[in-house]
Symmetry: C2
Subunit: 496 residues, 2 copies
């Protein structure tokens, strides 16, 4: 019976979806037609009869029938009643032939694209948990929240539409100015404000560079081991990745690499991810020379440049570049607060218009109140003072962590520490035979998240170690957590 089917169906929908009655009835009737309970050309009971059978108000029934009429499932013939439309059976019969709607197996293309398979494959990210020592997570407890809320509220109040104009392509102008001022003073980056493109973060900056400066199949040199976010961005944009080994002075291309001429070279010179090497000045000059030889663009990801614990920072590659071949990028979300999902990209003058336009077209403007609030936050000096405060806190944690790791060190062939001069993680390097993935897992069982260095290696087999972040671990906890880690490494026999 139709009404029984409808009631059962409505009951199911009502429990499951909390829809209003007329929508429940609409859905139930639609299913009745699709399932063939109501065939094409069949006449519907009158709305009065249906209402009575179903125990519903007539208004409810009429609303459902009207909706189905608008959508073409039903047609009314004056003086004769309401009928199931002729276009319904097509679907119906096709479906019945396969055994009815409910049991129909999915017919969709089951597979992802080849690049989709590659992109959706796990590359550490699924392991991310926010625990002491998780690299890439900082301590945001000192963020001046009340001040930020005040600024944000102010800019959400401001008139909006102007902010959507093409004039805002590349980002809100005052924010671009504030970023330029900051980089000029603190990072020796040579730039005008119009060279700054505000992005949603490093991923977007990298993709923009990859798309505008390289074609599908072009080669990008990446550090080995590498930051996986960059690897993903280059995979997503169809580039061919050529891994170049990193040593304690940073990336070191050799003759065999020159056989794979790059269109792009991607580096993290301030604090190589994950080994932590700081690229030396001679190496910086060499890299620029190599880039010149290949006429390649250099993508300088200057993450962690904000935190240097011994001496003033080394000049950025951008500051050394005289060719206009370096694109410089940074982010606020990892430094300031993750809710501020904004980053920046500094492009050479020759590229400004192309980048502004493509960025505008590909991403559309938006989040201008956030950009405006951040501009004022930086201009008022809160960004640099937040960095200063944070630096002190991180220096203390770093010290405590280093002390707690000391029992592991000292043996000439044993573990040593790299990358502790700068940034928010260090690397505990382990002998080549160590199973660092198993070790990281054992440490994970203690409630601490560290990452195995080998998980970042693209080609090379010689690096083993643990990437340990001290940005997020609470100060009061860090010594205890460090000892726990040290004990676990010793018990695993990985300390020699």
């Amino acid at each position: 019976m139709l009404s029984e089917f409808l009631l059962a169906e409505m009951n199911r929908l009502g429990v499951q979806d909390a829809l209003p009655l007329h929508r429940q009835l609409y859905e139930a009737m639609r299913r009745a037609m699709l399932d063939g309970k109501l065939a094409a050309g069949e006449r519907l009971p009158s709305s009065r009869d249906l209402a009575q059978d179903l125990g519903l108000s007539r208004n409810t029934v009429v609303a459902a029938i009207n909706q189905l009429g608008v959508e073409g499932y039903l047609v009314s013939r004056v003086g004769s009643g309401t009928y199931v439309n002729d276009n319904v059976p097509q679907i119906n019969s096709a479906r019945r032939a396969r055994g009815g709607l409910r049991t129909l197996p999915t017919l969709a293309p089951a597979r992802l694209s080849r690049r989709g398979e590659a992109l959706a494959g796990s590359f550490c990210a699924s392991e991310l948990e926010v625990q002491p020592f998780t690299p890439g997570i900082a301590d945001f407890s000192a963020f001046p929240l009340a001040l930020w809320q005040r600024l944000q509220n102010k800019h959400w109040r401001m008139t909006y539409p102007d902010m959507l104009d093409y004039a805002t392509a590349g980002g809100y102008a005052p924010l671009r100015r504030a970023i330029a001022d900051y980089l000029r003073v603190f990072r020796s980056v040579q730039l005008d404000a119009d060279q700054v493109i505000v992005t949603s973060g490093t991923q977007q900056s990298l993709e923009l560079c990859a798309r505008l400066l390289a074609d599908h199949g072009d080669t990008v040199w990446v550090e080995d081991p590498a930051y996986w976010g960059a690897v993903k961005a280059f995979m997503a944009t169809g580039l061919h990745l050529h891994p170049v080994p990193v040593d304690e002075q940073g990336i070191r291309p050799g003759a065999s690499d020159d056989a794979h001429p790059p269109r792009l070279i991607y580096v993290t010179p301030s604090h190589q991810y994950p080994t932590g090497s700081v690229m030396s000045l001679p190496r910086r000059h060499q890299l620029l020379q190599t880039a010149r030889t290949h006429n390649a663009w250099v993508l300088e990801d200057d993450y962690d440049s904000e935190y240097r614990f011994s001496g003033p920072p080394i000049s950025s590659l951008e500051g050394l570049d005289t060719d206009g071949r370096v694109l410089y990028m940074g982010t606020f979300s990892k430094v300031l607060y993750p809710g501020i999902k904004l980053g920046y990209l500094v492009v050479p003058k020759s590229l400004v218009e192309s980048f502004r336009q493509a960025h505008y077209d590909l991403n559309r403007p938006g989040q201008m109140p956030l950009q405006a609030a951040l501009a004022e936050f930086i201009e008022m000096g809160h960004f640099s003072s937040a960095l200063r405060r944070a630096r002190q806190g991180y220096a203390e944690r770093r010290q405590l962590l280093l002390e707690s790791l000391r029992p592991l060190l000292g043996d000439a062939d044993g573990p040593f520490i790299s990358g502790a001069d700068q940034g928010l993680h260090l690397c505990l390097r382990l002998p080549a035979g160590t199973d660092d993935r198993a070790l990281a897992q054992r440490i994970g069982q203690q409630g601490l998240t560290v990452r195995p260095v080998s998980a970042y290696c693209l080609q090379r087999q010689d690096l083993r170690g643990l990437v340990i972040g001290y940005g997020y671990a609470p100060l009061a906890e860090i010594a205890r957590c460090g000892r726990l880690l040290t004990d676990t490494v010793i018990r695993a026999g990985a300390s020699r």
Copy 2:
């Protein structure tokens, strides 16, 4: 003389950049070395002498020299003084050979990549100005700002780190639930909350689909004329675009199109952009059948579904799909407020994990306070009531605009209006011989922004008209602006 060069350089820097004195001196000395004024191996004057020559405090000079030492430009030899490092001349001589730093022409690769050229090329966006009738801009004056600020402040206060966990992949869980509830009730979309992926808007949704479901060189069917944002997204992801003509019932693929089998089919069924056609129910069923024949995915961009001015909405393609081949997308930034740069993508169950993971890896989490505030905003019913209020305001504007355009209509071969039943723009269709680009420009000179339909045509030559948005034009102005537009069209002789 060295000190004269340094003083001149510092003077230039001081005026231009407002750097502290020690940074000015640092920059000036660096340039002196790069320009060859200070050669490799050369001994520096003592800091005392330099300070005296330059009229600076000795601390300032020492700070600059220390920085250059850290960066490897200078080396100190105990008891002997400070020297320019040997690694400097390499750059130096290379540069002098080309005629010195300042006059050096840029050596960077001058060209964008081929796809970069295509992406940076203008496709209407540069014309965007926020004026009455600009399509794609809505009226945000009724947005409940105080309430929003309260919610936003509340969620910015909440503890943060948990929000960065992989559990938030695909978006903040309460927001995914709120979106699912909304779509189930208002758009007959059949879904569980875990099928929702929160994106930064339609561009990101489209790119994610293109990347995960299609490979470089695969074919995507797009409507002709087409929404240029989608065209750019598919270009950026390396797809081959095959345009399929649109009529008053929406996309109409024919036999010639079947010769270009699609991997993806992209449509705007609720309000085709730019013609405004609403895809009829039979056409929806046909499209799903065509997609099944080709085993293609369907990307349903349901923009403008929120505003229908006559009768209840037609069921979404997603609601009609029984194969699990439709991906459904919408946005908040154009509906609610552009500062809320968030959109959503509903994926079939079989794709949930792949999409969550790839989205997480490619975009990294962030803007969680925004997502949390929006979730509460929707749950509390403010989204649907904001839509209800807005719908009334837009209906009035639409009515006034239609009345002001009436003098243009009536001639059987003359202009007519399409796409006014739904959404926030309509299309004034003009005779095939009209130069609609010139006409749009003339109207632009009156301070009104409209878009020529031909600018959206990919292949076909038969469509002429003006895309007129009534979302943003102030109610009090719209009749006057409409008359101005009507007069301009008549004076241009385009009305017949």
